[in-house]
Structures are given as structure tokens and as C-alpha cells.
């Protein structure tokens, strides 16, 4: 599934079958090249963060969680990955050779594992396994990495 399709996905609590938020942003961990967590909007409490490991499922039509108390306030590593300045969509992509490969237009990910499969820019499609780093300035990729 793509970020563009998954954004605004409904987040539902399995325990009481209620909507407890909507997907606002994806936090990608460059070390694992996978989604580490989700930033939500329209949550019932003060928390707005879901760790990927706390999901029941990332489904075609909704994200499911056990109950609303899985939604927490962001902290530590996950907070940084979910910060606006680390958002992958729109991020400049640089190769390790220092060449601009375009801006991220979309990301294709595995719904089961959260792994980033493909980073799509206006000029290139880059496999997620090429990801080297993700900072406030750029997503750095090594196209030679399989």
C-alpha cells in the first residue's frame, strides 16, 4: 500500500469497535527501512502516537488496535521519527554520491511488516533497502545497495 492511500486511514479499536483516530503521518526508521510508528489526528485523549508494534493490523480499509490506550504520547526515538521535519513525503532524496534524485512523492510499504518497499520520487523509484539515512535535510540512499 502507498502512503498516499494510507493517509487518513481510520484507526479502530477492536475492543469496542470505535474509531479512535485517523492516520496523519508515518515515522520511518532509516536503520530498519520500515515504519516505526504512526502519528494520528482526532484521537480521544492527549496521545497521538502509535508504535507499529502496537498495531493489530494495517488493513486495506482501517488500522486496528486492541484498545485506545495503545495510543500514547510520543517520546524518545519515535518522537523524533514522527516529527514533521522527518516526514518522508516531500523530502529531498540524495544519493551517497551527493546527487539529488528528486523529492519523495509517495512510498510503497508492506502492510504486514511495515517495511518500506519503494520510495517514489518525481524521477526515480528507489528500493527501500537502499535507505542509508533520514534527516531533516534529506533521505540519503545508496542506489548500489540491493
Amino acid at each position: 500500500m502507498r502512503f498516499s492511500e494510507a493517509k487518513n486511514h481510520r484507526v479502530m479499536s477492536v475492543g469496542d469497535a470505535t474509531t479512535v483516530g485517523r492516520v496523519r503521518r508515518f515515522g520511518v526508521d532509516p536503520a530498519t527501512a520500515s515504519i516505526a510508528g504512526l502519528k494520528l489526528r482526532k484521537t480521544p485523549g492527549e496521545g497521538d502516537t502509535l508504535a507499529w508494534s502496537d498495531l493489530e493490523a494495517f488493513g486495506r480499509d482501517a488500522v486496528t488496535i486492541g484498545s485506545a490506550d495503545r495510543i500514547t504520547r510520543a517520546s524518545g526515538h519515535l518522537e523524533r521519527l514522527l516529527a514533521k521535519d522527518h516526514a518522508v513525503l516531500g523530502k529531498r532524496v540524495l544519493s551517497v554520491a551527493g546527487v539529488d534524485l528528486g523529492a519523495v512523492q509517495d512510498v510503497d510499504f508492506d502492510m504486514a511488516s511495515g517495511a518500506v518497499l519503494t520510495v517514489i520520487t518525481d524521477r526515480h523509484e528507489i528500493p527501500g533497502t537502499s535507505i542509508v539515512g533520514l534527516g531533516t535535510y534529506a533521505l540519503v540512499v545508496d542506489p548500489a545497495r540491493p
Partner: protein
């Protein structure tokens, strides 16, 4: 892989870590070996905090100098500016504005840019000059190849007169022209 670039285009290029953070921008190029190759860079801050920093980068610490960014492993490789500048010879390739003369006494023009050939090293392989009438290029900016070693002073740069036969209008094909010129000087080639 070899990439040709103008030195002035490297100035202000962002310095980016492999973690995707832009930590500085290139302020100036520090040349080594009588201006024959790049020894390192002095850095300036970016954005709101732009201004000269007291730090630099040795060429050995540069992971890649690309067309859009200068890549480094992480912030750790940034050194004090004294370390970078002291390792290079006193001259910093301040050749812009210098006159280019041939050994037969013809003035070819004045230097407007330095052309770098970037591989594992960044060699100075030519200059962009505002051409004099002697070159017959209507005063246009052209690229002129350099021999492996050259004679340069604060006053002028002296080139073998054969250099005029290998003048290029742009970077495409200039690398080949430099190779041919150097082969000729080494006594090789057909003519």
C-alpha cells in the same frame, strides 16, 4: 567515475551527513600542491546562521562531492579550520582574475573559474577564462586545459602554446581535450 565541475559551483553547496542532516555549506576551497588539487574546504553555516565557521573539512574526510551536495559520514569528520588550512600550501588557488599567458608570449585571457575533475581526488584540470582577441573566440568564456604541472605566480599563469588547440566551449568533451593535450605534451599522440 569522473565528474567535471566548476569550482564556483561548489561554493555554497550543502554539507550533508549520511544521516541526512545538512550541517554546513562550503565556504571556500582549499587547494594543495601548488593549486593542483583540492586539499579540503572551509565551511560556513546554513540558513539563518549563515556565516563563516571556524571549521573545515579535509578532502580525505569527504565521502563524495556530488553535483548537489558534499557528503560526509557524520559531524565527527569536521575539523578546526587551522588543521585543514595548515596542511595545504600557503596558496589557496586564488587564481581568479589572474592572466593566462602562453610560453610564446600571447595573452589568452583572465581566469574566471577553476575546472575540477572529481574522482577519488579532485584535480584542477583547467581554467575557465574570459578569452582575449588572440584566441579568436569573440571574447567569450572558454575552457583551457592545464598541463600536469604548471608555472604560476601571483601575476600570471604560463601555459605551453599548444593549449590553444584544446580550448573547449563547455564541460562536455573538456575532459577528453585535457587528456589529449597532456598526451601531446608527454610526446605521445599522432602530431
Amino acid at each position: 567515475m569522473s565528474v567535471l565541475m566548476r569550482a564556483t559551483e561548489v561554493i555554497r553547496r550543502p554539507v550533508v551527513t549520511m544521516a541526512g542532516e545538512a550541517v554546513a555549506q562550503v565556504k571556500d576551497i582549499v587547494y594543495e600542491g601548488d593549486g593542483g588539487h583540492v586539499g579540503g574546504f572551509t565551511l560556513a553555516g546554513r540558513g539563518m546562521f549563515a556565516g563563516p565557521l571556524k571549521v573545515g573539512l579535509a578532502w580525505e574526510s569527504v565521502s563524495a562531492l556530488g553535483s548537489d551536495a558534499l557528503m560526509i559520514r557524520d559531524e565527527e569528520v569536521v575539523e578546526s579550520i587551522e588543521q585543514v588550512v595548515s596542511r595545504s600550501a600557503a596558496r589557496r588557488g586564488d587564481v581568479l582574475g589572474s592572466r593566462v599567458m602562453t610560453d610564446d608570449g600571447t595573452e589568452l585571457g583572465t581566469i574566471t573559474d577553476v575546472i575540477l575533475d572529481v574522482t577519488e581526488v579532485a584535480d584542477v584540470i583547467g581554467y575557465e577564462i574570459d578569452s582575449s582577441p588572440a584566441l579568436g573566440k569573440d571574447g567569450r568564456r572558454v575552457l583551457i586545459p592545464l598541463p600536469d604541472t604548471l608555472s604560476i605566480s601571483g601575476e600570471a599563469l604560463m601555459l605551453p602554446s599548444a593549449a590553444t588547440e584544446f580550448v573547449s566551449d563547455d564541460l562536455a568533451g573538456f575532459g577528453a581535450a585535457v587528456q589529449e593535450f597532456r598526451t601531446r605534451l608527454a610526446g605521445g599522440g599522432a602530431t
